[in-house]
Amino acid sequence: MRLAVVVQRYGAEIIGGSEYLCRLIAERLAGRHEVDVLTTCARDDATWKNSYPEGDDRIRGVTVRRFANDRTRDPAAFNEYSDWIHRHPHSADDETEWLKQQGPWSPGLQSYLEQHHRDYDALIFFNCLYAPTVRGLRVDPARSILVPAAHDQPAIRLDLYRGVFSLPAGIAYTTAVERGFLKRAFSIRARAEETVGCGVDFPPSHLHERSHPDQPSSPLSARGAVFRRRHRLYGPIALHGGRIDPGKGCEELLDYFNSYAEADGDTSLVLMGLKLMPIPNALHVRFAGMLSETERLEALEAATVVVAPSPFESLSLPALESFAVGTPVLANARSDVIVDHCQRSNAGLYYAGRDEFVACLRLLIRDDDLRNAMGRQGRAYIRANYRWDIVLGKYDRLIASLPTSRPGGRHPRSGRRRGQKTA
């Protein structure tokens, strides 16, 4: 089948957010279908400046068609306009102007969709907030699937989005929390809905159960031994992976961890990822920096606990990955999504304040049996819900539910029956 994946920006160096989710899904779908990613030339979502060359590109086995943006975003003006539009009565034209100012605004992408939408069996739109999705969904809603990646925020309450969720024929929710929110807030008329999320790779060495604690493996082959050796970490580790940013709850994390470290001083807080704030020069705080994919998984394995301090998450892939390697998670209770993961998997705790953080972390660090049990349950949760074959199967079900109006369009299963006689 031929699929068009529409997203606001796309690139191998774009980490996190719905773009990263889109890339992972597109790369996996490309193994089963012919996938074209339709996107803009922007790399920076603050300005939507055209950074990539316009035209066709190929990234990790996926064809990418880029279209130039007509305008860039002026962040100050946009913020001012956003403040105004959220606080004052306004018209539909004002909201369209807001959508334009938000960006990316690519008439080329829109006209391509209008001209070529019949060449594709399904159009999959990622992120409901941006113009390519809002305008693109109107082109062929009957063969459109929306991956909203939405959470409760002021912008989504604009009238502009009221119609967006009633248009597509299929919706692939990222989490059950998102599904509940959208069902409550909007009228959804999709024929097919699935809570899909994103697949998670299991590291090859940990497809089996973790070795029993009574039979300790050698220090050289122990879980995460390489990462520990490389970063000279010997005690328990609380690991945070992702952007190190006050907006991601890292200030609060550092503050709370200081309180914990005053009593239990042998635990280190390891921060892994892009540094966007100063990190205090303390003995128990270590900065590992940006790591490769392999090192990242090693770090997750080496960690005693993975901390997810962000109060706003739409999926939290690091938390799912840590479940996959059998490391329990300590999450911010303000993030409904991660709390839901923790409660469904029984593989993580969550904190709503300093005392809870200290108590939960102390419990997770000290109680090996609890940690091992949570690790097992986390892996089982990922195995049941977030294996790639399950995720892709859900996408195939959604695609199969769409009408095939494209000339020569095939049922997704027909690829496997090539050569067989049709009835």
Binding site: N346, A347, D355, E356, A359, L363, D367, L370, M374
Partner: protein, 341 residues
């Protein structure tokens, strides 16, 4: 914190969280709200007193504020109010002074009935008189308001002086705190520097001690051997010397005489010791094994040897440091620059 039953696959996160929250509530007790308020107040105060966040120009900005002046005076201090004008019923008939003025006043009085034929001047005179009274009262009120205003102004001025003083105090406090922070940083660096030097000294003393042990170890072994089984001390040295000579094949095997000279130089130039040394060294250079029976010379040589630095240690010391005088005791030998290694 209560222990949780965490057997395999029986972990219930919600139950654990309930338990944790219950424990926290129990620990906090009823004074929790007060404690939270105190924490918040401390956090706010800490933010306010943070010297890096307090603008040092606040005092100057405050000083630039202008004090309010009196509103009924011009900038030169002259009163802006007009002089009061007295008015009575004769004022309308008054003219200039002198006889002519009196005559005019008399004529006006005489013609007054004729004037009254045209209009009645009494209400005008009455209104003007009342206006004069009103003006007097207003002026009096204005003066009293001015007095009050002046007194309040003085209070404000005093208050502003006090404020300025407070700001000055705060400014000084901030300056002092900043200075103390800088001082503390300097002291921290000083402590680090001293710690570094201490560390360096420790390492240096450790290496000196190790050199000392290396140098004194063969002597001790020799002395022990001589005392215990009567083996001549020189035999050990001979073996060591032989090994050293083999390590440097490029330089050629040293002759017995050269070695003897070197050894003599190293061991001191005592005639008896030199002879005894030469006797002991002879089998080492040639092939004959040393005589295990201790001779009188051997026995007498042992204590003499123990006074001089051992050959191996001397060789090492030669490699690492300038040669020491042969008669010097081992402790006086110049140490190698361990710290420089």
């Amino acid at each position: 914190m209560a222990e949780f039953n965490s057997r395999a696959d029986s972990v219930d996160v919600m139950r654990i969280m309930e338990r944790i929250r219950k424990d926290i509530r129990k620990q906090r007790g009823p004074d929790d709200i007060e404690r939270q308020h105190r924490e918040l107040a401390e956090a706010t105060r800490a933010r306010c007193l943070e010297p890096r966040r307090t603008g040092s120009d606040r005092y100057e900005r405050n000083r630039r504020l202008t004090l309010p002046g009196r509103f009924d005076r011009d900038p030169q201090g002259r009163s802006l109010a007009p002089e009061p004008f007295e008015f009575n019923e004769d004022t309308v008939y008054v003219s200039s002074g002198g006889a002519m003025g009196k005559l005019i006043r008399l004529i006006r009085r005489i013609l007054n009935p004729i004037l009254r034929l045209f209009f009645n001047p009494d209400p005008i005179i009455f209104a003007m008189m009342r206006q004069a009274e009103i003006n007097d009262r207003l002026l009096d009120l204005l003066n009293r308001v001015n007095v009050e205003f002046e007194r309040t102004g003085r209070k404000f001025a005093a208050r502003e002086e006090l404020d300025a003083l407070n700001y000055e105090v705060v400014n000084n406090l901030v300056t002092e705190m900043t200075r103390l922070a800088v001082d503390m940083k300097n002291h921290k660096m000083l402590v680090e520097s001293v710690a570094g030097r201490l560390d360096f000294d420790e390492r240096r003393s450790r290496s000196l001690e190790s050199v000392q042990q290396t140098r004194s170890a063969p002597q001790t072994v020799d002395a022990e051997r001589t005392e215990s089984d009567g083996t001549p001390a020189g035999s050990t040295r001979t073996r060591r010397r032989r090994r050293r000579s083999r390590r440097r094949p490029g330089a050629g095997a040293p002759s017995a005489a050269t070695e003897a000279t070197g050894e003599t130089a190293a061991a001191g130039d005592a005639g008896k010791d030199e002879n005894a040394d030469a006797q002991v060294r002879e089998p080492a250079v040639g092939a004959a094994p040393p005589d295990p029976t201790p001779t009188g010379a051997d026995v007498s040589a042992a204590p003499a040897e123990s006074k001089s630095p051992p050959a191996a240690a001397s060789a090492e010391a030669r490699d690492a440091a300038p040669p020491s005088p042969p008669a010097e005791p081992p402790a006086a030998a110049p140490p190698p620059a361990a710290g420089d290694r």
